[in-house]
């Protein structure tokens, strides 16, 4: 595994140097649609979230408004994760270190929700409902789902963090590495290598959405 960063700061896949930033699968998200609310999400067909929303934004600005959109996305993900662990623990079928994992990580996701809610103020909005079924309560499915949720959260955070103002990035980075720890822990419990690659490849918001959307009630 080599790091896919080319010389002169461009990516090796030939992105233009005219201010467009692409790195791996990262593109600048102009709208951050997933961040707005689950209600907006629900109105979008999966295929509708596509090129228009994720067009490369040459010269795109890092602004407080954009910070709020990205924090909104982070809040939605943290709410989903917190609900997932609460549901899993309520199911009563987790034991041993898996139970410990759900308990510790669930509490940390709640702390993230609280932090992001405070940071967003009135823009935080209400939490949507979630449904997990046995993806949360069946011990084997729980671990697979936890790996998926934590890895996806991390990858989309890494993708969006480059769009944050430095001050917001400093705050977000304190959460991002904790998500990485969660992902590694979940993978270890699932019998996988905790750190499978030398660099965590970011994903787009639409890629993350495809993972999270099935859990929105």
């Amino acid at each position: 595994m080599t790091i896919r960063v080319g010389r002169n700061g461009t990516n090796p896949e030939g992105a233009s140097q005219r201010g467009e930033v692409r790195w791996g699968t990262v593109r600048m998200s102009r709208a951050g649609l997933f961040a707005r609310s689950a209600a907006v999400l629900g109105a979008l067909g999966g295929s509708a979230v596509g090129a228009a929303e994720f067009a490369a934004a040459a010269g795109s600005q890092r602004t407080p408004a954009r910070d709020r959109e990205i924090f909104g996305l982070a809040l939605l993900i943290a709410r989903l994760e917190a609900a997932f662990y609460a549901h899993a623990l309520a199911g009563g079928r987790l034991t041993g270190e898996t139970h410990q994992f759900a308990s510790v990580v669930g509490a940390q996701e709640k702390a993230h929700v609280k932090y992001l809610t405070t940071a967003l103020g009135s823009a935080a909005g209400k939490s949507p409902g979630f449904r997990f079924g046995d993806a949360a309560t069946d011990p084997t499915k729980f671990l697979a789902t936890a790996v998926s949720l934590e890895s996806t959260a991390l990858a989309v955070y890494n993708g969006q963090a480059v769009n944050l103002t430095p001050q917001a990035l400093a705050a977000a980075a304190r959460v991002v590495s904790v998500e990485a720890r969660h992902a590694a822990w979940a993978r270890a419990l699932a019998g996988q290598v905790p750190a499978p690659v030398a660099v965590d490849v970011p994903i787009t918001v639409s890629q993350a959405e495809s993972v999270f959307r099935p859990f929105l009630a």
Partner: protein, 234 residues
């Protein structure tokens, strides 16, 4: 099962760790203190090199970015050397050996990447003496926990200061891998992989102080600044 969070090793515990403590009182601070300090950009070393010999690879990067990338490279040199030596000595077995093998490959990849990006502006690799911690599984484990938590905190501090979005994306993608490494080795050491809801950053000066306190760096990087012209005698 990992122990309670209250028992977890935190960054502040680094220089109190038993594996490192006995080396703490050693002398010779001056001979090795230059390595990371220069890398951190606190001195004129890195900036001086860039000014005198603008590297083609980073000719358009800000001097701040170059300093940060070199600081990251310094930490990656330290970690890569640590795991490589541990693996070569062969005192690790089982899960710990697997961790050293996989993580060592990652750290070496990070070194290669930063060197490629920095080109001739890259700092040279210093000499390391790990003072026995790489041939003792328990000392290895404690040191690895400290290194990985340290690297995570160091990247976290530097990331918001990076000007170039490409470099920032790369730094973030490595930052989270260091956090994965930390979680992995913490679990193997019996600590909670994620002991806190929020990870704190650590300033470059504090990182330098901690690394210097280990005395693992035995020879500072050669002075490549062209301002230090050769001296001729006679």
């Amino acid at each position: 099962m990992p122990r309670d969070a209250s028992r977890s090793l935190r960054l502040d515990d680094f220089d109190l760790d038993g594996a490192l403590r006995e080396t703490h009182e050693r002398q010779c601070r001056e001979t090795r203190s230059g390595f990371l300090r220069r890398a951190a950009g606190a001195g004129v070393g890195v900036v001086g090199v860039l000014a005198v010999r603008p590297a083609s690879a980073v000719a358009q990067a800000s001097s701040g970015d170059v300093a940060i990338l070199n600081f990251a490279l310094a930490l990656e040199y330290l970690q890569a050397s640590f795991y490589t030596q541990a693996e070569r000595i062969g005192a690790l077995h089982g899960a710990l050996a697997e961790q050293a093998h996989v993580v060592g490959a990652h750290e070496r990849a990070h070194v290669r990447a930063f060197k490629a990006v920095l080109g001739s502006a890259a700092i040279k690799e210093p000499k390391f003496d790990f003072r026995g911690v790489t041939d003792n599984p328990n000392a290895f484990r404690s040191t690895a926990v400290a290194f990985e938590d340290l690297a995570t905190a160091a990247y976290k501090e530097q990331a918001p200061r990076i000007q170039s979005r490409s470099y920032l994306a790369a730094a973030l993608a490595i930052h989270s891998v260091e956090a994965r490494h930390a979680a992995w080795i913490r679990r193997l050491a019996g600590f909670l992989p994620a002991a806190h809801a929020f990870d704190d950053p650590l300033s470059d000066s504090k990182v330098v102080e901690i690394v210097n306190s280990t005395h693992f760096v035995t020879l500072k990087t050669p002075d490549t600044s062209a301002t230090s012209s050769p001296r001729f005698t006679g």
